[in-house]
């Protein structure tokens, strides 16, 4: 990406002392440039943090100072290192079973990223298929698929996911499958509207005239041209799925103990939050930072993908 052109002070330095405020509703040209840069800066931050998270997930066994499942009853609820009673042995402290919080946090990255990625892939395939078909064919196909989308949107996702996860016995796999089957709506809505716009594009018309098969047109002509929008939706749905998994696990219907899901870590620390607030603060901040980074990445990609967004 164009991160090299982003100077850290670019947007803040040019804000004060403008003196060019005669037409307040029409931003001057330099301002659009800083806006671009600010967008790119978000993209850069997002890329770096998500990249770090992926590295942490891959190398968790090498990075973690302790076994994330090892219980040490003698060392329960050890506070983090910045606390008076903290020690470098357990940098982020230990939980109620004496397990090392930092190690659990590092391994938890694997759960969140797996959930985000696989759910976005499953829901992406379902949603894009429905959306492209609806957008390309229009008419009755569109009416039926739009009805399915409307119905899906009216279903309360959290409630339905909770009920089904409880019935099927929550586990990492069931959470992934459930969320994958539930979160395809945005993919469908976006790919439908983008496909509609290119249904009558000249290259699609040309392919049709040349006698290309329908799958060829959809996969080789339409899909590459909606890929940009789909990647943006994909990042947003990854963030959505990670938050929902944490919520389900927090409510006890998602990933089950002893797996180090961040939502589960918050749930396990809930009883201690009044006197040892870090037990919920640490996994909560991890969740917040990862989701924020993925959203920044998505927003940045959307800016790049927008018409005229590259200059």
């Amino acid at each position: 990406m164009t991160t090299s052109s982003v100077s850290p002070t670019a947007s803040s330095a040019s804000t004060p002392g403008t003196g060019l405020g005669e037409i307040p509703l029409q931003p001057p040209a330099w301002s659009r440039v800083t806006r671009r840069l600010f967008g790119h800066r978000g993209l850069a931050i997002g890329l770096i943090v998500v990249g770090l998270a992926i590295l942490i997930a891959i190398f968790a066994p090498l990075l973690a100072p302790h076994d994330p499942y090892h219980q040490d009853i003698a060392n329960r609820m050890v506070p983090p290192v910045w606390h008076d009673k903290g020690s470098w042995e357990h940098v982020l402290g230990t939980d109620k079973l004496g397990r090392d919080t930092l190690s659990r946090l590092l391994f938890g990255t694997r759960i969140s990223l797996t959930i985000g990625l696989v759910v976005a892939l499953i829901s992406g395939v379902i949603g894009t298929t429905l959306g492209v078909l609806a957008g390309y064919f229009g008419g009755r196909v569109d009416a039926v698929i739009s009805y399915v989308i409307t119905t899906r949107l009216a279903m309360p996702v959290v409630l339905v996911a909770l009920a089904l996860a409880s019935l099927t016995g929550g586990s990492l796999t069931t959470v992934i499958v459930l969320l994958g089957l539930l979160l395809w709506d945005r993919f469908a809505v976006v790919s439908r509207s983008v496909t509609q716009q290119m249904r009558d594009a000249e290259y699609v018309y040309a392919a049709r005239t040349l006698g290309c098969s329908l799958p060829y047109i959809l996969l080789r002509e339409v899909l590459p041209n909606i890929a940009g929008s789909l990647i943006v939706v994909m990042t947003l749905e990854m963030a959505h799925a990670i938050l929902l998994e944490a919520t389900l696990s927090f409510l006890g219907m998602g990933v089950q103990p002893p797996l180090p899901s961040w939502g589960l870590m918050v749930a396990e620390g809930k009883a201690y939050m009044f006197f040892q607030p870090w037990v919920i603060a640490i996994p909560g901040i991890a969740l917040f930072v990862l989701v924020l980074a993925i959203n920044l990445l998505g927003d940045g990609l959307r800016d790049l993908n927008a018409p005229g967004g590259r200059n």
């Binding site: 804000t15 509703l25 009805y147 309360p156 009920a163 019935l167 009044f274 909560g284």
Partner: protein, 305 residues
């Protein structure tokens, strides 16, 4: 306008029917209800006993039709757990969830719309960036964690507000903030983009050229048009918040519909689960229907689509 409304109502009714079928089938097909109800220690005979007692041995279509027949007259059967009918439980808990949702929406609207307008007027200044930061943070904040953090800060440390319960208005402040912040980012962003678009349009230029005061241009001409899509979004967000209240109610021990649903889910009280899912979906359907009609009334171009 008449045919538009009738068509929308018919679609809404059939969506509601489809939801009832889908949620019923999902619950009945994703696991064996009788085994779940009987619990892990039940013998095979006990499971069979429960299956016949609750009528779970009959064909699923018959079970659904019976349930639907009852649901149409607001008879959702009896709770497996509580000694009362499902309708009584729902009527009892509904006011709390509606209060929470209403307060959260009021809060979200009163923050997001002024902030969105301000961000659009002060585009590319620090105010705009601060508003964007506020939205970005809100989108990434896990609502259950935000709720717990509010409890630790305002209920435990500062002791300004109660942490749990639903006795007085004070009990609704923190939950409404936690739930409302969730709806704020999208509405703020939509207000901002809407205002930016409208402010560049011809009729705003005309209004300015006529020499109207800036305040009049912004509020009477620009905001009134920019707000149309925000109305629709607000209705959708209220629907989402009612569905998402299960999380917030559990964090703050508010005894509303969400808490009822969560208790019912963990106790395998399926008549209650089914009814709450349907009721929440109905709220969403009615809200989006009202938003559609309101939109069409405000913007005649929508009707002809």
């Amino acid at each position: 306008m008449g045919t538009f409304i009738v068509r929308r109502i018919l679609i809404a009714m059939s969506v509601a029917l489809t939801i009832s079928i889908v949620s019923f089938m999902l619950l009945h097909l994703s696991g064996d209800l009788a085994t779940s109800i009987a619990g892990p220690e039940a013998t095979a005979e006990q499971v069979e006993q429960i299956r016949t007692d609750y009528g779970l041995d009959r064909p699923i279509v018959n079970q659904y039709l019976d349930w639907l027949g009852g649901a149409l007259t607001f008879d959702f059967g009896r709770s497996y757990y509580y000694q009362s009918t499902v309708v009584d439980l729902i009527v009892d808990r509904m006011p709390i969830t509606l209060t929470l949702g209403g307060l959260a929406l009021a809060l979200a609207i009163s923050i997001s719309i002024p902030l969105g307008v301000l961000a659009a007027l002060k585009r590319d200044t620090w105010i705009d960036r601060l508003a964007l930061l506020f939205a970005v943070v809100g989108q990434a904040m896990p609502s259950f964690w935000f709720g717990l953090t509010l409890i630790v800060v305002f209920a435990v440390t500062l002791q300004w507000l109660p942490a749990a319960g639903s006795d007085g208005w004070q009990h609704f402040v923190l939950p409404a903030i936690a739930l409302g912040y969730y709806a704020t980012p999208a509405m703020m962003r939509l207000t901002r983009t809407g205002m930016l678009e409208v402010l560049e349009s011809d009729y705003i230029r005309t209004a300015r050229a006529k020499g109207l005061r800036t305040g009049s241009v912004i509020f009477k001409h620009a905001l009134r048009n920019a707000i149309i899509p925000v109305v629709a979004l607000a209705a959708v967000e209220l629907g989402f918040m009612l569905g998402g209240s299960v999380v917030i109610e559990s964090v703050f021990s508010l005894n509303g519909l969400g808490q009822l649903a969560w208790d019912a889910i963990s106790r395998n009280d399926y008549p209650v689960v089914q009814a709450v899912v349907l009721i929440i979906a109905l709220f969403y359907i009615v809200l989006t229907l009202l938003a559609d009609v309101a939109n069409a009334a405000l913007d005649p171009r929508i009707r002809t689509r």
